[in-house]
Protein backbone atom coordinates (compact mmCIF):
# COMPACT_ATOMS: atom_id res chain seq x y z
CA UNK A 1 0.00 0.00 0.00
CA UNK A 2 1.23 3.48 -0.84
CA UNK A 3 2.04 5.75 2.06
CA UNK A 4 -0.25 8.71 2.39
CA UNK A 5 2.19 10.65 4.56
CA UNK A 6 5.86 10.67 3.73
CA UNK A 7 8.10 12.75 5.97
CA UNK A 8 11.78 12.87 5.07
CA UNK A 9 14.43 14.61 7.16
CA UNK A 10 12.18 17.40 8.31
CA UNK A 11 13.97 20.00 10.43
CA UNK A 12 12.44 23.07 11.98
CA UNK A 13 14.36 25.73 13.83
CA UNK A 14 12.91 28.72 15.59
CA UNK A 15 14.66 31.93 16.50
CA UNK A 16 13.70 33.08 19.94
CA UNK A 17 14.72 36.45 21.30
CA UNK A 18 16.97 36.35 24.33
CA UNK A 19 15.93 38.83 26.95
CA UNK A 20 18.76 41.02 28.14
CA UNK A 21 18.83 41.63 31.86
CA UNK A 22 20.12 44.41 34.06
CA UNK A 23 20.43 48.12 33.41
CA UNK A 24 18.77 49.52 30.32
CA UNK A 25 17.54 46.04 29.48
CA UNK A 26 14.39 47.47 27.98
CA UNK A 27 16.37 49.48 25.46
CA UNK A 28 18.72 46.63 24.76
CA UNK A 29 15.78 44.34 24.11
CA UNK A 30 14.30 46.86 21.78
CA UNK A 31 17.30 47.90 19.74
CA UNK A 32 19.84 45.12 19.89
CA UNK A 33 17.93 41.97 20.39
CA UNK A 34 19.94 38.78 20.49
CA UNK A 35 18.50 35.57 19.25
CA UNK A 36 18.88 31.98 20.22
CA UNK A 37 18.16 29.23 17.74
CA UNK A 38 16.03 26.38 18.96
CA UNK A 39 15.83 23.15 17.03
CA UNK A 40 12.22 22.15 17.40
CA UNK A 41 12.48 19.20 15.02
CA UNK A 42 15.61 17.32 14.01
CA UNK A 43 15.56 15.01 11.01
CA UNK A 44 12.08 13.69 11.46
CA UNK A 45 11.45 10.82 9.05
CA UNK A 46 8.42 8.58 9.00
CA UNK A 47 5.76 7.11 6.77
CA UNK A 48 2.09 6.54 7.38
CA UNK A 49 -0.03 4.20 5.30
CA UNK A 50 -3.54 4.95 4.18
CA UNK A 51 -6.12 3.89 6.76
CA UNK A 52 -3.66 3.79 9.66
CA UNK A 53 -4.35 5.27 13.04
CA UNK A 54 -1.06 6.61 14.30
CA UNK A 55 -0.42 7.76 17.84
CA UNK A 56 2.04 10.60 18.00
CA UNK A 57 3.32 10.76 21.54
CA UNK A 58 5.94 12.52 23.56
CA UNK A 59 6.21 14.77 26.59
CA UNK A 60 5.11 18.40 26.55
CA UNK A 61 7.30 20.54 24.34
CA UNK A 62 8.66 17.59 22.37
CA UNK A 63 7.58 18.99 19.01
CA UNK A 64 4.24 17.26 18.52
CA UNK A 65 2.25 20.37 17.71
CA UNK A 66 4.99 21.67 15.44
CA UNK A 67 4.84 18.43 13.45
CA UNK A 68 1.07 18.61 13.20
CA UNK A 69 1.32 22.22 12.06
CA UNK A 70 3.81 21.27 9.35
CA UNK A 71 1.62 18.37 8.25
CA UNK A 72 -1.42 20.62 8.02
CA UNK A 73 0.44 23.30 6.06
CA UNK A 74 0.38 25.99 8.75
CA UNK A 75 4.16 26.02 9.15
CA UNK A 76 6.93 25.66 6.62
CA UNK A 77 9.83 23.47 7.75
CA UNK A 78 13.38 24.81 7.67
CA UNK A 79 14.54 21.87 5.59
CA UNK A 80 13.39 18.43 4.48
CA UNK A 81 10.71 16.96 2.28
CA UNK A 82 7.18 16.15 3.06
CA UNK A 83 4.61 14.66 0.74
CA UNK A 84 1.12 14.18 2.02
CA UNK A 85 -1.61 12.75 -0.14
CA UNK A 86 0.54 13.40 -3.20
CA UNK A 87 1.30 17.06 -2.55
CA UNK A 88 3.50 19.30 -0.44
CA UNK A 89 1.38 20.90 2.32
CA UNK A 90 2.87 24.39 2.27
CA UNK A 91 2.78 24.66 -1.51
CA UNK A 92 -0.61 25.12 -3.06
CA UNK A 93 -2.08 25.29 0.44
CA UNK A 94 -5.66 25.88 -0.59
CA UNK A 95 -5.81 22.75 -2.72
CA UNK A 96 -4.07 20.66 -0.09
CA UNK A 97 -6.27 21.54 2.88
CA UNK A 98 -9.43 20.30 1.16
CA UNK A 99 -8.39 16.77 2.04
CA UNK A 100 -7.49 17.24 5.67
CA UNK A 101 -9.44 17.81 8.85
CA UNK A 102 -7.90 19.13 12.05
CA UNK A 103 -9.18 19.17 15.61
CA UNK A 104 -7.16 21.08 18.17
CA UNK A 105 -8.43 19.79 21.51
CA UNK A 106 -8.08 23.12 23.24
CA UNK A 107 -9.24 25.42 20.49
CA UNK A 108 -12.58 25.61 18.85
CA UNK A 109 -13.31 25.90 15.19
CA UNK A 110 -16.99 26.60 15.75
CA UNK A 111 -18.63 29.91 16.53
CA UNK A 112 -19.17 30.57 20.19
CA UNK A 113 -22.47 32.45 20.11
CA UNK A 114 -24.42 30.88 17.29
CA UNK A 115 -26.14 27.47 17.07
CA UNK A 116 -23.77 24.68 16.07
CA UNK A 117 -25.73 23.91 12.93
CA UNK A 118 -25.03 27.45 11.65
CA UNK A 119 -21.30 26.90 12.10
CA UNK A 120 -21.67 23.68 10.13
CA UNK A 121 -23.53 25.54 7.40
CA UNK A 122 -20.65 28.02 7.23
CA UNK A 123 -18.21 25.13 6.88
CA UNK A 124 -20.39 23.76 4.10
CA UNK A 125 -19.84 27.02 2.21
CA UNK A 126 -16.13 27.15 3.04
CA UNK A 127 -15.55 23.65 1.68
CA UNK A 128 -18.18 24.04 -1.06
CA UNK A 129 -19.86 20.78 -0.06
CA UNK A 130 -22.90 19.97 -2.24
CA UNK A 131 -26.13 20.08 -0.23
CA UNK A 132 -27.00 16.43 -0.80
CA UNK A 133 -23.61 15.17 0.28
CA UNK A 134 -23.62 17.50 3.27
CA UNK A 135 -26.99 16.21 4.47
CA UNK A 136 -25.87 12.63 4.08
CA UNK A 137 -22.62 13.17 5.98
CA UNK A 138 -24.36 15.11 8.70
CA UNK A 139 -26.89 12.31 9.14
CA UNK A 140 -24.11 9.78 9.45
CA UNK A 141 -22.21 11.89 11.98
CA UNK A 142 -25.41 12.62 13.82
CA UNK A 143 -26.19 8.92 14.19
CA UNK A 144 -22.69 8.09 15.34
CA UNK A 145 -22.33 10.93 17.83
CA UNK A 146 -25.93 11.61 18.91
CA UNK A 147 -25.83 15.26 18.01
CA UNK A 148 -29.58 15.75 17.67
CA UNK A 149 -30.12 17.81 20.80
CA UNK A 150 -26.90 19.77 20.39
CA UNK A 151 -27.14 21.15 16.87
CA UNK A 152 -29.64 23.88 17.60
CA UNK A 153 -27.92 25.21 20.69
CA UNK A 154 -25.17 27.83 20.73
CA UNK A 155 -21.74 26.36 21.36
CA UNK A 156 -21.26 28.29 24.60
CA UNK A 157 -24.12 26.36 26.22
CA UNK A 158 -22.55 22.96 25.58
CA UNK A 159 -20.41 20.94 27.96
CA UNK A 160 -16.81 20.13 27.13
CA UNK A 161 -17.73 16.64 25.94
CA UNK A 162 -20.59 17.88 23.80
CA UNK A 163 -18.31 20.49 22.32
CA UNK A 164 -15.71 17.89 21.41
CA UNK A 165 -18.37 15.81 19.66
CA UNK A 166 -19.37 18.85 17.63
CA UNK A 167 -15.74 19.68 16.86
CA UNK A 168 -15.17 16.16 15.58
CA UNK A 169 -18.26 16.33 13.41
CA UNK A 170 -17.23 19.76 12.15
CA UNK A 171 -13.81 18.56 11.06
CA UNK A 172 -15.30 15.63 9.12
CA UNK A 173 -18.10 17.37 7.21
CA UNK A 174 -15.97 17.68 4.10
CA UNK A 175 -15.03 14.01 4.21
CA UNK A 176 -11.25 14.49 4.60
CA UNK A 177 -8.80 11.74 3.74
CA UNK A 178 -6.57 12.57 6.69
CA UNK A 179 -7.67 13.66 10.13
CA UNK A 180 -5.32 15.27 12.64
CA UNK A 181 -6.48 15.11 16.22
CA UNK A 182 -4.52 17.12 18.75
CA UNK A 183 -5.46 15.77 22.18
CA UNK A 184 -9.05 14.89 21.36
CA UNK A 185 -9.89 13.37 24.74
CA UNK A 186 -8.35 16.05 26.95
CA UNK A 187 -10.55 16.82 29.94
CA UNK A 188 -13.38 14.46 28.97
CA UNK A 189 -15.27 12.21 31.38
CA UNK A 190 -14.99 8.42 31.08
CA UNK A 191 -18.19 7.87 29.11
CA UNK A 192 -17.53 10.65 26.60
CA UNK A 193 -13.96 9.45 26.22
CA UNK A 194 -15.20 6.00 25.26
CA UNK A 195 -17.74 7.50 22.89
CA UNK A 196 -15.08 9.61 21.21
CA UNK A 197 -12.79 6.60 20.89
CA UNK A 198 -15.56 4.47 19.39
CA UNK A 199 -16.32 7.25 16.96
CA UNK A 200 -12.71 7.59 15.85
CA UNK A 201 -12.61 3.84 15.20
CA UNK A 202 -15.92 3.99 13.40
CA UNK A 203 -14.83 6.74 11.01
CA UNK A 204 -11.55 4.98 10.36
CA UNK A 205 -13.41 1.79 9.38
CA UNK A 206 -16.19 3.49 7.48
CA UNK A 207 -14.14 5.90 5.35
CA UNK A 208 -10.70 4.39 5.68
CA UNK A 209 -9.62 7.80 7.00
CA UNK A 210 -5.98 8.05 8.01
CA UNK A 211 -5.82 9.44 11.52
CA UNK A 212 -2.90 11.06 13.29
CA UNK A 213 -3.52 11.52 16.96
CA UNK A 214 -1.53 13.20 19.67
CA UNK A 215 -2.48 12.45 23.22
CA UNK A 216 -1.19 12.07 26.73
CA UNK A 217 -3.82 9.45 27.49
CA UNK A 218 -2.17 6.08 27.02
CA UNK A 219 -5.52 4.34 26.98
CA UNK A 220 -6.30 6.24 23.79
CA UNK A 221 -3.11 4.85 22.33
CA UNK A 222 -3.90 1.30 23.42
CA UNK A 223 -7.48 1.40 22.27
CA UNK A 224 -7.00 3.10 18.93
CA UNK A 225 -3.62 3.05 17.30
CA UNK A 226 -1.86 0.42 15.28
CA UNK A 227 1.39 2.34 15.22
CA UNK A 228 3.05 4.84 17.50
CA UNK A 229 5.70 7.42 16.90
CA UNK A 230 7.52 8.51 20.01
CA UNK A 231 9.17 11.90 19.84
CA UNK A 232 11.35 13.68 22.38
CA UNK A 233 13.43 16.82 22.14
CA UNK A 234 12.57 17.08 18.48
CA UNK A 235 13.79 13.62 17.53
CA UNK A 236 12.01 10.39 16.78
CA UNK A 237 12.96 7.84 19.40
CA UNK A 238 10.76 4.96 18.45
CA UNK A 239 8.28 4.04 15.79
CA UNK A 240 6.42 0.78 15.52
CA UNK A 241 3.69 -1.06 17.32
CA UNK A 242 2.80 -0.13 20.86
CA UNK A 243 2.61 -3.82 21.83
CA UNK A 244 6.32 -4.20 21.18
CA UNK A 245 7.32 -1.46 23.47
CA UNK A 246 4.86 -2.54 26.09
CA UNK A 247 6.05 -6.13 26.11
CA UNK A 248 9.58 -4.93 26.46
CA UNK A 249 8.74 -3.22 29.69
CA UNK A 250 5.86 -5.24 31.03
CA UNK A 251 8.10 -8.29 31.47
CA UNK A 252 9.00 -6.72 34.76
CA UNK A 253 6.50 -7.90 37.40
CA UNK A 254 5.87 -7.03 40.97
CA UNK A 255 4.63 -9.89 43.15
CA UNK A 256 3.11 -9.37 46.59
CA UNK A 257 3.17 -12.62 48.56
CA UNK A 258 1.31 -13.46 51.78
CA UNK A 259 2.97 -16.23 53.81
CA UNK A 260 1.38 -18.67 56.23
CA UNK A 261 3.84 -17.78 58.97
CA UNK A 262 6.61 -15.27 59.72
CA UNK A 263 9.93 -15.88 58.01
CA UNK A 264 13.17 -14.17 59.03
CA UNK A 265 14.48 -13.85 55.56
CA UNK A 266 12.91 -14.27 52.16
CA UNK A 267 15.19 -15.28 49.38
CA UNK A 268 14.28 -16.62 45.96
CA UNK A 269 16.67 -17.11 43.04
CA UNK A 270 16.05 -14.69 40.19
CA UNK A 271 13.94 -12.39 42.35
CA UNK A 272 14.75 -9.35 44.34
CA UNK A 273 13.03 -8.80 47.69
CA UNK A 274 11.94 -5.20 47.74
CA UNK A 275 10.21 -5.17 51.10
CA UNK A 276 9.41 -7.67 53.81
CA UNK A 277 7.23 -7.10 56.81
CA UNK A 278 5.87 -9.89 58.96
CA UNK A 279 3.91 -12.21 56.71
CA UNK A 280 3.99 -10.00 53.63
CA UNK A 281 6.76 -9.55 51.12
CA UNK A 282 7.09 -7.75 47.80
CA UNK A 283 9.25 -9.39 45.16
CA UNK A 284 10.37 -8.31 41.76
CA UNK A 285 11.83 -10.44 38.98
CA UNK A 286 15.37 -9.56 37.93
CA UNK A 287 15.74 -8.43 34.30
CA UNK A 288 17.37 -11.75 33.43
CA UNK A 289 14.46 -13.73 34.79
CA UNK A 290 11.31 -14.28 32.74
CA UNK A 291 8.24 -14.52 34.94
CA UNK A 292 6.06 -17.64 34.65
CA UNK A 293 3.28 -18.07 37.19
CA UNK A 294 3.51 -21.83 37.36
CA UNK A 295 7.27 -21.85 37.72
CA UNK A 296 7.08 -19.11 40.34
CA UNK A 297 4.58 -21.04 42.46
CA UNK A 298 6.69 -24.18 42.24
CA UNK A 299 9.83 -22.40 43.28
CA UNK A 300 8.39 -20.40 46.14
CA UNK A 301 6.36 -23.25 47.64
CA UNK A 302 9.50 -25.41 47.71
CA UNK A 303 10.96 -23.24 50.48
CA UNK A 304 8.03 -21.33 51.90
CA UNK A 305 4.46 -21.86 52.91
CA UNK A 306 2.31 -19.29 51.15
CA UNK A 307 -1.32 -18.28 51.49
CA UNK A 308 -1.84 -15.92 48.60
CA UNK A 309 -0.02 -13.88 45.97
CA UNK A 310 -0.79 -11.09 43.54
CA UNK A 311 1.08 -10.19 40.36
CA UNK A 312 1.03 -6.73 38.83
CA UNK A 313 2.81 -5.48 35.76
CA UNK A 314 3.53 -1.90 34.81
CA UNK A 315 0.58 0.18 33.66
CA UNK A 316 0.84 1.77 30.24
CA UNK A 317 1.44 5.12 31.84
CA UNK A 318 4.30 3.72 33.89
CA UNK A 319 5.74 2.15 30.75
CA UNK A 320 5.73 5.50 29.07
CA UNK A 321 7.14 7.34 32.05
CA UNK A 322 9.95 4.78 32.13
CA UNK A 323 10.52 5.25 28.44
CA UNK A 324 10.70 9.03 28.76
CA UNK A 325 13.17 8.68 31.61
CA UNK A 326 15.28 6.20 29.71
CA UNK A 327 15.58 8.54 26.77
CA UNK A 328 16.02 11.49 29.11
CA UNK A 329 13.50 13.52 27.23
CA UNK A 330 11.52 14.84 30.16
CA UNK A 331 11.96 18.55 30.62
CA UNK A 332 13.35 19.41 34.00
Amino acid sequence: MASIIDFTDICKTFKVPLRAKGKFSMFKNFFARKYKTIEALKNITFKVDEGDIVGYIGPNGAGKSTTIKIMSGILTPTSGNCVINGSVPWKNRREFVKNIGVVFGQRSQLWWDVPVIDSFELLRDIYKIPREEFDKTLELLNDALNLDDLLNRPLRQLSLGQKMKCELAGSLLHHPKILFLDEPTIGLDAITKLAVRDFIKFINKKWNTTIILTTHDMNDIEALTNKIILIGKGQILYQGSFENIKNQYSSSKTIVVEFAKDYDDIHLDGYETISHEKRFATLKNLPSKQFHPKEFVNEITRSYDIVDFQVTSLSVDEVLAKLYKEYEIVER
Partner: protein, 259 residues
Amino acid sequence: MLYSKFLKMHIQTSMQYRFNTIFIGLTQAIINIGEVLSVYILFSQFKSVQGYGFYECLLMMGIIYTVFATAECFARGYDEFHKLIKSGEFDRMLIRPVNIHYQILGSKIELTKLTRVILGIILVIIALIHLNITWNILKILVLISTFICGFLIITGLFIISATISIFTIEQFEFVNIFTNGAKEIAYYPINIYAKWMTRIFTYIIPVACFNYLPLSYLLEIGNIPMWLCAISPLLGMLFIIPCIIIFNLCLKKYKSTGT
Protein backbone atom coordinates in the same frame (compact mmCIF):
# COMPACT_ATOMS: atom_id res chain seq x y z
CA MET B 1 -22.04 33.78 -1.05
CA LEU B 2 -19.58 33.04 1.74
CA TYR B 3 -19.22 36.66 2.82
CA SER B 4 -22.94 37.04 3.37
CA LYS B 5 -22.78 33.94 5.60
CA PHE B 6 -19.97 35.53 7.62
CA LEU B 7 -22.02 38.71 7.87
CA LYS B 8 -25.06 36.75 9.00
CA MET B 9 -23.02 35.06 11.74
CA HIS B 10 -21.75 38.42 13.00
CA ILE B 11 -25.24 39.87 13.04
CA GLN B 12 -26.45 36.80 14.92
CA THR B 13 -23.64 37.21 17.45
CA SER B 14 -24.39 40.88 18.05
CA MET B 15 -28.05 40.08 18.42
CA GLN B 16 -27.11 37.77 21.30
CA TYR B 17 -25.86 40.82 23.15
CA ARG B 18 -28.34 43.35 21.81
CA PHE B 19 -28.16 45.90 24.61
CA ASN B 20 -24.40 45.87 24.61
CA THR B 21 -24.20 46.36 20.85
CA ILE B 22 -26.60 49.30 20.83
CA PHE B 23 -24.93 50.90 23.84
CA ILE B 24 -21.41 50.64 22.41
CA GLY B 25 -22.64 51.95 19.07
CA LEU B 26 -24.23 55.01 20.66
CA THR B 27 -21.26 55.85 22.91
CA GLN B 28 -18.92 55.75 19.96
CA ALA B 29 -21.04 58.20 18.02
CA ILE B 30 -21.32 60.48 21.05
CA ILE B 31 -17.51 60.65 21.39
CA ASN B 32 -17.29 61.80 17.78
CA ILE B 33 -20.03 64.39 18.25
CA GLY B 34 -17.93 65.81 21.09
CA GLU B 35 -14.98 66.19 18.73
CA VAL B 36 -17.13 67.95 16.16
CA LEU B 37 -18.34 70.37 18.82
CA SER B 38 -14.80 71.20 19.86
CA VAL B 39 -13.92 72.05 16.25
CA TYR B 40 -17.09 74.14 16.03
CA ILE B 41 -16.05 76.11 19.12
CA LEU B 42 -12.61 76.60 17.63
CA PHE B 43 -14.08 78.09 14.47
CA SER B 44 -16.48 80.33 16.36
CA GLN B 45 -13.32 82.04 17.68
CA PHE B 46 -11.14 82.09 14.56
CA LYS B 47 -13.58 82.01 11.63
CA SER B 48 -10.99 80.45 9.32
CA VAL B 49 -7.80 78.38 9.43
CA GLN B 50 -5.42 78.96 6.51
CA GLY B 51 -8.34 80.05 4.41
CA TYR B 52 -10.55 77.08 5.28
CA GLY B 53 -13.80 77.65 7.08
CA PHE B 54 -15.80 75.43 9.44
CA TYR B 55 -17.75 73.60 6.74
CA GLU B 56 -14.62 72.63 4.81
CA CYS B 57 -13.32 71.06 8.00
CA LEU B 58 -16.69 69.49 8.68
CA LEU B 59 -16.52 67.85 5.26
CA MET B 60 -13.03 66.53 6.04
CA MET B 61 -14.19 65.21 9.41
CA GLY B 62 -17.26 63.62 7.87
CA ILE B 63 -15.13 61.85 5.28
CA ILE B 64 -12.51 60.56 7.72
CA TYR B 65 -15.21 59.42 10.19
CA THR B 66 -17.03 57.57 7.47
CA VAL B 67 -14.03 55.86 5.94
CA PHE B 68 -12.26 55.10 9.22
CA ALA B 69 -15.38 53.62 10.79
CA THR B 70 -16.10 51.64 7.61
CA ALA B 71 -12.59 50.22 7.75
CA GLU B 72 -12.94 49.49 11.45
CA CYS B 73 -16.21 47.74 10.74
CA PHE B 74 -15.28 45.65 7.72
CA ALA B 75 -11.47 45.37 7.95
CA ARG B 76 -11.36 44.85 11.70
CA GLY B 77 -9.65 41.49 11.15
CA TYR B 78 -6.45 43.27 10.09
CA ASP B 79 -6.75 45.89 12.81
CA GLU B 80 -6.95 43.19 15.48
CA PHE B 81 -4.80 40.67 13.70
CA HIS B 82 -2.66 40.04 16.79
CA LYS B 83 -5.76 38.68 18.49
CA LEU B 84 -6.37 36.27 15.64
CA ILE B 85 -2.81 35.00 15.97
CA LYS B 86 -2.90 34.68 19.73
CA SER B 87 -6.21 32.86 19.84
CA GLY B 88 -5.03 30.39 17.21
CA GLU B 89 -7.85 31.47 14.95
CA PHE B 90 -5.35 32.39 12.27
CA ASP B 91 -3.93 28.84 12.28
CA ARG B 92 -7.48 27.69 11.73
CA MET B 93 -7.80 29.98 8.71
CA LEU B 94 -4.67 28.52 7.19
CA ILE B 95 -6.28 25.08 7.04
CA ARG B 96 -9.34 26.30 5.16
CA PRO B 97 -9.47 26.18 1.37
CA VAL B 98 -10.43 29.85 1.09
CA ASN B 99 -8.29 32.91 0.30
CA ILE B 100 -6.69 34.15 3.50
CA HIS B 101 -7.66 37.82 3.00
CA TYR B 102 -11.25 36.83 2.42
CA GLN B 103 -11.20 34.94 5.70
CA ILE B 104 -9.56 37.78 7.63
CA LEU B 105 -12.20 40.19 6.33
CA GLY B 106 -14.92 37.75 7.29
CA SER B 107 -13.50 36.93 10.72
CA LYS B 108 -14.40 40.22 12.34
CA ILE B 109 -17.19 42.53 11.32
CA GLU B 110 -17.69 45.17 13.97
CA LEU B 111 -21.26 46.32 13.49
CA THR B 112 -21.15 48.82 16.36
CA LYS B 113 -18.95 51.04 14.18
CA LEU B 114 -21.88 51.63 11.83
CA THR B 115 -23.18 54.43 14.04
CA ARG B 116 -19.98 56.32 13.28
CA VAL B 117 -20.42 55.66 9.58
CA ILE B 118 -23.93 57.11 9.73
CA LEU B 119 -22.72 60.11 11.72
CA GLY B 120 -19.92 60.69 9.21
CA ILE B 121 -22.33 60.64 6.29
CA ILE B 122 -24.65 63.09 8.08
CA LEU B 123 -21.72 65.46 8.66
CA VAL B 124 -20.74 65.22 4.98
CA ILE B 125 -24.29 66.04 3.89
CA ILE B 126 -24.50 69.03 6.27
CA ALA B 127 -21.14 70.31 5.03
CA LEU B 128 -22.04 69.89 1.36
CA ILE B 129 -25.29 71.81 1.83
CA HIS B 130 -23.41 74.77 3.30
CA LEU B 131 -20.46 74.73 0.94
CA ASN B 132 -20.84 76.59 -2.29
CA ILE B 133 -20.19 73.85 -4.84
CA THR B 134 -21.37 73.85 -8.43
CA TRP B 135 -22.10 70.16 -9.00
CA ASN B 136 -21.52 68.13 -12.11
CA ILE B 137 -21.24 64.41 -12.84
CA LEU B 138 -17.46 64.43 -12.55
CA LYS B 139 -17.56 66.02 -9.10
CA ILE B 140 -20.00 63.39 -7.89
CA LEU B 141 -17.68 60.68 -9.18
CA VAL B 142 -14.70 62.30 -7.47
CA LEU B 143 -16.64 62.46 -4.20
CA ILE B 144 -17.59 58.78 -4.42
CA SER B 145 -14.04 57.73 -5.28
CA THR B 146 -12.80 59.82 -2.34
CA PHE B 147 -14.74 57.60 0.05
CA ILE B 148 -13.49 54.42 -1.59
CA CYS B 149 -9.93 55.77 -1.58
CA GLY B 150 -10.15 56.63 2.14
CA PHE B 151 -11.48 53.20 3.01
CA LEU B 152 -8.70 51.48 1.06
CA ILE B 153 -5.92 53.61 2.54
CA ILE B 154 -7.07 53.06 6.14
CA THR B 155 -7.45 49.35 5.39
CA GLY B 156 -3.93 49.40 3.93
CA LEU B 157 -2.63 50.87 7.19
CA PHE B 158 -4.42 48.14 9.12
CA ILE B 159 -2.79 45.55 6.85
CA ILE B 160 0.65 47.02 7.61
CA SER B 161 -0.09 46.84 11.31
CA ALA B 162 -1.19 43.21 10.80
CA THR B 163 2.01 42.46 8.90
CA ILE B 164 4.07 43.64 11.84
CA SER B 165 2.08 41.44 14.23
CA ILE B 166 3.08 38.40 12.15
CA PHE B 167 6.53 38.88 13.67
CA THR B 168 5.82 40.49 17.00
CA ILE B 169 2.62 38.58 17.88
CA GLU B 170 1.83 41.57 20.09
CA GLN B 171 0.26 44.65 18.61
CA PHE B 172 3.01 47.09 17.83
CA GLU B 173 1.90 50.41 19.32
CA PHE B 174 4.27 52.37 17.11
CA VAL B 175 2.01 51.69 14.14
CA ASN B 176 -0.75 53.63 15.86
CA ILE B 177 1.18 56.78 15.05
CA PHE B 178 0.25 56.12 11.46
CA THR B 179 -3.25 54.70 11.81
CA ASN B 180 -4.63 56.96 14.51
CA GLY B 181 -2.25 59.72 13.47
CA ALA B 182 -3.60 59.62 9.94
CA LYS B 183 -7.09 59.80 11.35
CA GLU B 184 -6.51 62.76 13.68
CA ILE B 185 -4.57 64.69 11.08
CA ALA B 186 -7.31 64.29 8.49
CA TYR B 187 -9.84 66.22 10.57
CA TYR B 188 -8.50 69.30 8.81
CA PRO B 189 -7.36 69.84 5.22
CA ILE B 190 -3.81 68.61 5.77
CA ASN B 191 -2.08 71.37 3.79
CA ILE B 192 -2.59 73.63 6.84
CA TYR B 193 0.18 71.74 8.67
CA ALA B 194 3.95 72.12 8.38
CA LYS B 195 5.37 71.31 4.93
CA TRP B 196 7.16 68.12 6.01
CA MET B 197 4.00 66.76 7.57
CA THR B 198 1.93 67.50 4.53
CA ARG B 199 4.57 65.74 2.44
CA ILE B 200 4.61 62.60 4.58
CA PHE B 201 0.84 62.36 4.43
CA THR B 202 0.80 63.00 0.71
CA TYR B 203 3.63 60.91 -0.68
CA ILE B 204 4.20 58.15 1.90
CA ILE B 205 0.76 57.64 3.37
CA PRO B 206 -1.47 59.32 0.79
CA VAL B 207 -4.04 60.74 3.21
CA ALA B 208 -4.12 63.85 1.00
CA CYS B 209 -5.87 61.80 -1.69
CA PHE B 210 -9.08 61.70 0.32
CA ASN B 211 -8.45 65.02 1.99
CA TYR B 212 -7.42 68.41 0.59
CA LEU B 213 -6.77 67.28 -2.97
CA PRO B 214 -10.35 66.23 -3.78
CA LEU B 215 -11.54 69.16 -1.64
CA SER B 216 -9.58 71.55 -3.89
CA TYR B 217 -11.27 69.96 -6.89
CA LEU B 218 -14.76 70.24 -5.44
CA LEU B 219 -14.26 73.89 -4.44
CA GLU B 220 -12.09 74.68 -7.47
CA ILE B 221 -9.43 76.36 -5.33
CA GLY B 222 -5.69 76.03 -4.80
CA ASN B 223 -2.77 75.98 -7.21
CA ILE B 224 -2.47 72.24 -7.87
CA PRO B 225 -3.63 71.27 -11.40
CA MET B 226 -7.32 70.39 -11.32
CA TRP B 227 -6.92 67.17 -13.31
CA LEU B 228 -4.43 65.92 -10.71
CA CYS B 229 -6.81 66.75 -7.88
CA ALA B 230 -9.56 64.91 -9.73
CA ILE B 231 -7.63 61.69 -10.18
CA SER B 232 -5.90 61.85 -6.79
CA PRO B 233 -8.42 59.49 -5.11
CA LEU B 234 -7.76 56.93 -7.84
CA LEU B 235 -4.00 57.22 -7.26
CA GLY B 236 -4.52 56.89 -3.50
CA MET B 237 -6.36 53.62 -3.98
CA LEU B 238 -3.14 52.06 -5.30
CA PHE B 239 -1.66 52.35 -1.79
CA ILE B 240 -3.34 49.11 -0.75
CA ILE B 241 -1.57 47.05 -3.41
CA PRO B 242 1.95 47.16 -1.91
CA CYS B 243 0.38 46.63 1.53
CA ILE B 244 -1.17 43.35 0.41
CA ILE B 245 1.99 42.25 -1.39
CA ILE B 246 4.13 42.89 1.70
CA PHE B 247 1.62 41.07 3.88
CA ASN B 248 1.65 38.05 1.60
CA LEU B 249 5.45 37.96 1.53
CA CYS B 250 5.72 38.20 5.31
CA LEU B 251 3.12 35.51 5.77
CA LYS B 252 5.68 32.98 4.55
CA LYS B 253 7.69 33.75 7.68
CA TYR B 254 4.72 33.08 9.95
CA LYS B 255 5.70 31.11 13.04
CA SER B 256 2.45 30.32 14.79
CA THR B 257 2.22 30.12 18.57
CA GLY B 258 2.21 27.18 20.97
CA THR B 259 -0.83 25.04 21.66
